[in-house]
Symmetry: C3
Amino acid sequence: MFVMNAWYVACTVEELKSHQPLGRTICGRRMAFFRGVNDQLACVEDFCPHRGAPLSLGRVCEGQLVCGYHGLVMGCDGKTVSMPGQRVHAFPAIRSYAVLERYGFVWVWPGDAALADPALMPHFPFLESPDWAYGGGLYHIQADYRLMIDNLMDLTHETYVHATSIGQPEIDETPCKTQIEGQQVTTSRFMSGIQAPPFWQRAMQAQGLDPLAKVDRWQICRFTPPSHVLIEVGVAMAGQGGISAPDDQKAHSIVVDFITPETATSHWYHWGMARRFQVQDRALTHAIRDGQGKIFSEDLEMLEHQQSNLSLDPERKLLMLNIDAGGVQARRVIDRLIQAEKAAQSSPEEAAHAH
Amino acid sequence: MFVMNAWYVACTVEELKSHQPLGRTICGRRMAFFRGVNDQLACVEDFCPHRGAPLSLGRVCEGQLVCGYHGLVMGCDGKTVSMPGQRVHAFPAIRSYAVLERYGFVWVWPGDAALADPALMPHFPFLESPDWAYGGGLYHIQADYRLMIDNLMDLTHETYVHATSIGQPEIDETPCKTQIEGQQVTTSRFMSGIQAPPFWQRAMQAQGLDPLAKVDRWQICRFTPPSHVLIEVGVAMAGQGGISAPDDQKAHSIVVDFITPETATSHWYHWGMARRFQVQDRALTHAIRDGQGKIFSEDLEMLEHQQSNLSLDPERKLLMLNIDAGGVQARRVIDRLIQAEKAAQSSPEEAAHAH
Amino acid sequence: MFVMNAWYVACTVEELKSHQPLGRTICGRRMAFFRGVNDQLACVEDFCPHRGAPLSLGRVCEGQLVCGYHGLVMGCDGKTVSMPGQRVHAFPAIRSYAVLERYGFVWVWPGDAALADPALMPHFPFLESPDWAYGGGLYHIQADYRLMIDNLMDLTHETYVHATSIGQPEIDETPCKTQIEGQQVTTSRFMSGIQAPPFWQRAMQAQGLDPLAKVDRWQICRFTPPSHVLIEVGVAMAGQGGISAPDDQKAHSIVVDFITPETATSHWYHWGMARRFQVQDRALTHAIRDGQGKIFSEDLEMLEHQQSNLSLDPERKLLMLNIDAGGVQARRVIDRLIQAEKAAQSSPEEAAHAH
């Protein structure tokens, strides 16, 4: 169901306040996130070893998580530090998870912490560069996280789900191409000499370009495991080189989708957009975020209804068309990684081969 | 559980807009209703063969149902007509259902469409005659549809559930008579020389009769499969011939109950009243509908609580008294038809015998 | 799961109106409470033997419970008294339960009514003495009732859950002592020469004592089966004898907790406080009740979250520390009684030994 040994976005750095832990279920595991000594990030099982209260209902005092029920003090490593009037050395440890802070997000490794290599963190330089502006949000969606991957790897849905903003018939009419390179799956589509849809007309205007001019438009969706989808999107004045056109002839950005499974039929959807035009314009950042939030709420509704339909008959076969190749290939990468993790549990040697 | 080969009310004609499909689960099957070419009614499985999205979230364009996710175009027969950039001839067909428009309602045949004979539609001439006025509404009730049939085939409940409107002790005190004629079950009760209850006092007043005069009152409940209950009700000035009294000496109407199973423990209840007095008086139609809606909401509450009680111990035996004969006989008709349908699935010949 | 042969609080006397029955599930059994002839309390299964409607939706007429669906008249003993137009002598009886009115509450015995001895009612003289004032309320909590017993038998939680009212670090720092005497479990803690927490400062002020003076504080939690926890609490001016200090040197009261299981994961929590100071002061009674209600709502939240955590992995072992001894011992008493009841069902003789 889930790749466990991988970095997932748990929450934004902003969501995690200094003294208040945050409870969140990720890949089926209840976790409590908090800031330990020196604001060091920590994540432990959200289960007090004393009587099972959620530790996320407690408070952080001097870098330690204090259970809100009877005051057990939990360390960052899942070992009980102390408890009033008790000797705690024999208390059973709870699970702890590897965590990282990067790109404005808190990342967690739900699997074996010993394997949690920071070097395996994906690189998103545009999320830390001053040349880019970023805005985004979070949706909690009652659907298998893989339905969201399917959604994002097949943008023909924009024509129907997002008809009034980013959809246009030319998406449907233009074939896409899917390529696999190691664990990365890329689906791309290039449209030439078309009218920009409303969202991109506004972006062109913000860029000082004629919103009604003919444009070349591109969409390059990149899936990387466990469930990140980054999409290069943009329009350039027609005939100026498309994605390679000079900056003043185009408006382009990267749609950021960090998809974190919660349960088998729900996920946390961290969405956003990084752009390289008018990066100082905060009002534009807010306007784009609001527009994107509205667009993605249309996906949310569709995915939750799709999930209810699928749940009624989980064995029913679905079609896998050329437009679905991106999602299909992404699921294959996921399945291979899950198989490898299972194999590793029975035999550590096999696991080494799978990677 | 359900008779599948029969006509059920799916929705009112008004509910089904031109360009918007309507999703509804009937007899456990998710259906999408829409108007095809030339406004022809159509009903298909509410499941897009591409990725399982509900087709009812889509739109109707030029008489075809367009999936709101990726634009698959579905025909009235469950076969995919087209899809942008795809060859669709090998797409698996989805189920389609026979539908009919009659009496202001859309009717559907959830079973085998090949058996869906329009001649099997019941006849309700008063629903299309200018001599009658009709008003009604729809309730979605969390209870087995057969509990509603029981309710309507035993009107002694009016004394208790509807004490302030149509109930009166004389209903309880007057024995009823249940008769079976083929698949029709009739329970009737005649009361003589009584005071009319509030609802009928208002009807007498509307008719220009003395609301406090003694009346003869009748209730004739008719069940026909799969789950229609039509109830002739009325009062006449005492001694004028009861149900056969001249029109100016009585107020009478037909309570219309089209009960459509949704799941094993929920149903759609289309209720209404057709009357033969003051048929031009629209304000009276609205007043009656409001009153009836309030009365039937009392049944709704009772039935949902009864269902929760029964769900706790589904095997527990209930009593079957003389007053319950109508419901008991109606359930026998239903059970026989279900048995016949099962038999038909294993052997088509047996089925012919059962009918 | 539940001790069945014992007296539980069903509701307050106030909750049970003259003509309106009250439906409540206790120890997994749906019950309808009502006042029979001469206002005699009665309790029967909340299930009409006719068609399974909840009797609690009916009305009480002349001391008999009339089903709100078809008018079946139910007696206090679970036998049908009459029904319009029916001979009822062969109707199956429904369960009836022994009930008692005492201390302002209605008490019910969910087990075998033949064993329901009023002499087994616990004695709470302070609940009927004019020397004491009482105020309280009711919470419906989605958690195993034993989690509430644990909560009340280990007051170290006050330091964390109720930090702003009755909690203080000295509770944690002072060891408690747990004693078992027959079926009664007592956990007590005595603190000397401390500052009173906010709740007790207000009580001292109401008593005319200096709220900032040093005090001795005590907490004596007494569990008696099936699930009553009464807690003697108070403060006295330091060095005046603590719990034995003269009345004008202390403020003390008894926290009353009548815990009634509903299902395996929910219970009714009747909470209150009986006090022996300023007993005429109704405004104080209300103020205390409001304060206590707020405090206990903090427990409610913790217990419901604890229950969700435990439900995810019911087999997971919890710690049993010295502070948990009260709850652990109370659960042992409960388990022994449940075992004895099971044994009694297979062999009545064994049961006699267990008591």
